[in-house]
């Protein structure tokens, strides 16, 4: 026990998490030492706009302060064997004062959808506020900054990749962007946008207005992104969404009281991974980033998911047999258009509870933004796609048919399916002479098969007064018809766990696949879990045992995790 206030170590301040390097928080003369000491091979350098420009008009790239010399930073990194990746914030960035805006531009506080100003506490306990990106002066200044940055990269022949990042946080399981704004500045800009559309929209219903507000927000985000892409040129690799753990208002308020703990953060890591959003722990206080939370972040994010996202423009490279990618049995489509949440949701149908209790986080939530990442069919992972009728548009309709025809499996909730697409599906079945089997189990279910492909249509509107247990039974029966190969875990409450997978290598030919289970106990209790191994699974390796006892019995595995304990277990899988 120490009797003094712990002082954050300098290394924690400049490397706040997942290989991010805050170059402005240390002297340029120390860059080499710091980078040499850092164990990782790739460093992520978020660009700090306000550090290079106080006013938004004039810029400093080594003209005045040596810490603004990005060329020198890249050179040093290369000399000490590190690869540099730049992150350029395209939305307010919660880890920077004023959300990253030069202080002369920080004029109007951005307000979240609850009309509360965004407040953020960073890893060093500094209080940051977020200012509106909808002020035209902010956009003009951003354009000047990225022009100058692009020119600087070009003149100095900086070849490092640069990704635009869109910052957000989790609220009630949903990813929300820090770009969301309901301030007067936003309202003024939105009313100008509406005036431009006046011919089409004389009087707007609240729903239409909500939809247009979403469209406007997206338009402005695309404007920032497009400008950055045009000005940066070849270095610009694309955009990534980053969820800052602890960035929500509720976590901010909890943090103020000083009672926040690691358990408050870990579920956000898994939410982010399920939604193909990069989790970042740079706001979490250094004191909490010891033990199990750091292991979760290193195992699941810094050393696996993040490199995979940065390596290519596709989410996962199935060809690379050395890399574990997230295990997903389900790809659940949720359209993000500001309106979709008003219709029947998967939450209403109790799907999340069922998936969590039976499959943990072995699912992906897909939106129109990430659909492309999931078009590639894995040669060894079989997915069940779940889609709502009200989300079906031309793109999604084609996606469903393509998936089905290629031997994929789709469950379509007909709720909200338009007449046009109902007819199109019927025509498709007739034209291809497909047999439609009908069954009633809590609702009407239609099953259509074609080779390995299956399309199941269920009528979500017909569910009446169903209890959570009824929904659980419904999903259990329906999903069982797909015969998924999986090992359920017993007594797993309070334990964080995550499944990953990779194809077997040439010296593992007895298996078809290797599945990796990472288990972490963030609680202060001892936990014992059991797994009944079916004939398709064998325990292959047990790795990184910390405060844990692993016992294997015939057809059973028992794992006892002490508080802060963790372990990784690899399973060989064969059919």
């Amino acid at each position: 026990m120490t009797l003094t206030t712990p002082v954050p170590r300098d290394i924690d301040t400049v490397f706040p998490g997942e290989n991010w390097f805050f170059y402005w928080k240390t002297s340029a003369s120390l860059w080499r030492t710091k980078l040499q000491e850092f164990p990782g091979t790739r460093i992520i350098i978020p660009l700090n706009w306000s550090f290079h420009s106080d006013t938004g008009d004039q810029f400093d790239f080594d003209e005045h302060r040596p810490e603004t010399n990005l060329k020198k930073l890249v050179d040093i990194a290369q000399e000490v064997g590190k690869q540099v990746v730049f992150f350029l914030p395209l939305t307010p960035a919660p880890f920077l004062p004023n959300g990253g805006l030069p202080h002369l531009l920080a004029r109007s506080l951005a307000l979240n959808t609850e009309q509360m100003a965004y407040g953020v506490v960073d890893a060093d306990d500094n209080l940051f506020k977020i200012y509106s990106f909808f002020d035209p002066r902010v956009f003009e200044a951003f354009e000047r900054f990225v022009k100058k940055l692009g020119q600087y990269f070009f003149e100095n022949r900086i070849a490092a990749d640069l990704w635009g990042i869109r910052s957000g946080y989790f609220k009630d399981g949903q990813f929300r962007s820090f770009m969301e704004d309901s301030s007067n500045t936003f309202e003024q800009a939105f009313s100008r946008f509406l005036k431009g559309k006046k011919g089409e929209t004389d009087t707007l219903s609240p729903i239409e207005e909500k939809q247009l507000a979403f469209e406007f927000n997206k338009t402005i985000q695309d404007l920032y992104t497009g400008t950055a892409k045009d000005c940066i040129g070849q270095n610009f690799e694309g955009t990534l969404e980053v969820a800052f753990l602890g960035g929500s208002t509720s976590k901010f308020l909890k943090r103020l009281s000083g009672t926040i703990s690691t358990v408050d953060y870990s579920s956000e890591i898994y939410e982010a991974l399920a939604k193909d959003i990069i989790p970042s722990s740079v706001l979490i206080n250094h004191r909490l980033k010891k033990g199990v939370l750091t292991r979760e972040l290193n195992d699941l994010v810094a050393n696996s998911y993040l490199p995979a996202r940065l390596a290519a423009n596709t989410a996962y490279d199935f060809e690379d047999i050395a890399v574990f990618s997230p295990l997903s049995f389900f790809k659940v489509y949720e359209k993000i258009d500001g309106l979709s949440s008003m219709f029947q949701s998967w939450e209403n149908l109790n799907l999340w509870n069922y998936l969590h209790s039976t499959y943990g986080w072995s699912y992906k939530v897909i939106s129109s933004d990430t659909l492309k990442l999931h078009e590639t069919k894995s040669p060894y992972q079989e997915f069940i796609h779940l889609v709502h009728g009200h989300d079906v548009d031309r793109t999604l309709f084609n996606f469903i048919l393509k998936t089905f025809m290629n031997g994929g499996r789709v469950i379509l909730n007909r709720s909200g399916l338009s007449e046009e697409y109902t007819k199109r599906f019927e025509t498709f079945f007739l034209e291809n002479n497909l047999t439609v089997e009908k069954v009633n189990f809590k609702t009407t279910i239609q099953n259509i098969s074609l080779g390995e492909g299956r399309l199941v249509l269920m009528d979500g509107d017909q569910f009446k007064d169903m209890s959570p247990a009824d929904y659980e039974e419904f999903w259990k029966k329906l999903v069982e018809t797909f015969s998924l190969l999986h090992i359920p875990i017993q007594n797993v409450e309070g334990i964080d766990y995550y499944w990953r997978t990779r194809p077997s290598s040439t010296n593992e030919l007895k298996f078809e696949e290797v599945r990796r289970l990472s288990l972490y106990n963030p609680t202060s209790y001892r936990k014992k879990i059991k797994m009944n191994l079916s004939k398709n699974f064998v325990v292959y390796k047990v790795l990184d045992e910390i405060n844990v006892i692993v016992q294997t019995f015939p057809n059973e595995l028992e794992i006892e995790l002490s508080p802060e304990g963790s372990v990784i277990v690899d399973f060989g899988v064969f059919s």
Binding site: L111, M116, N126, L127, D172, K254, T259, E347
Partner: protein, 140 residues
């Protein structure tokens, strides 16, 4: 059960369901105590039993947004906050509108100062009954 030291409530005057042509009303967005976000079950129970008004008949109001309300007036809000304070035997309750919250956040430079302002600069109501109770009241 340990007594709560303080409660902070943040509320807003909003139209929770404009698509249903509902009226605007007051809603509590967040309730905090010294342990973080307050367990909402007690607050919800008090609301359901003593404050649920005719405004709340529409299903849309009892949505999953975790707000507590609607309340007709700030008087009702104050009564609710004070009754919650009594129920939890808290020393005081500080009630702030989101506009007050935003002003405080804008003018504050550090997290501890902001936290202190939330406690001190809202509409603060003290639970005098708690002060009257002595040490022995915790046992009898």
């Amino acid at each position: 059960m340990n007594d709560t030291e303080y409660i902070v409530g943040i509320y807003n005057y909003i139209n929770a369901a404009p698509e249903l042509n509902a009226d605007s009303a007051y809603y509590i967005l967040y309730l905090l105590d010294e342990k973080g976000l307050l367990d909402r079950s007690i607050a919800l129970k008090i609301y359901e039993e003593r404050f649920k008004s005719s405004l709340a008949t529409t299903e849309s109001y009892t949505n999953s947004s975790k707000m507590i309300g609607p309340f007709d007036s700030t008087d009702q809000l104050n009564q609710f906050a004070f009754q919650l304070c009594e129920e939890l035997n808290a020393a005081k309750v500080s009630l702030l509108s989101v506009q007050e919250y935003n002003q405080l956040l804008e003018s504050t430079q550090s997290a501890p100062d902001f936290h202190r302002d939330l406690l001190e600069k809202g509409n603060v109501m003290e639970n005098i009954e708690r002060k009257k109770k002595g040490f022995l009241s915790r046992f009898f």
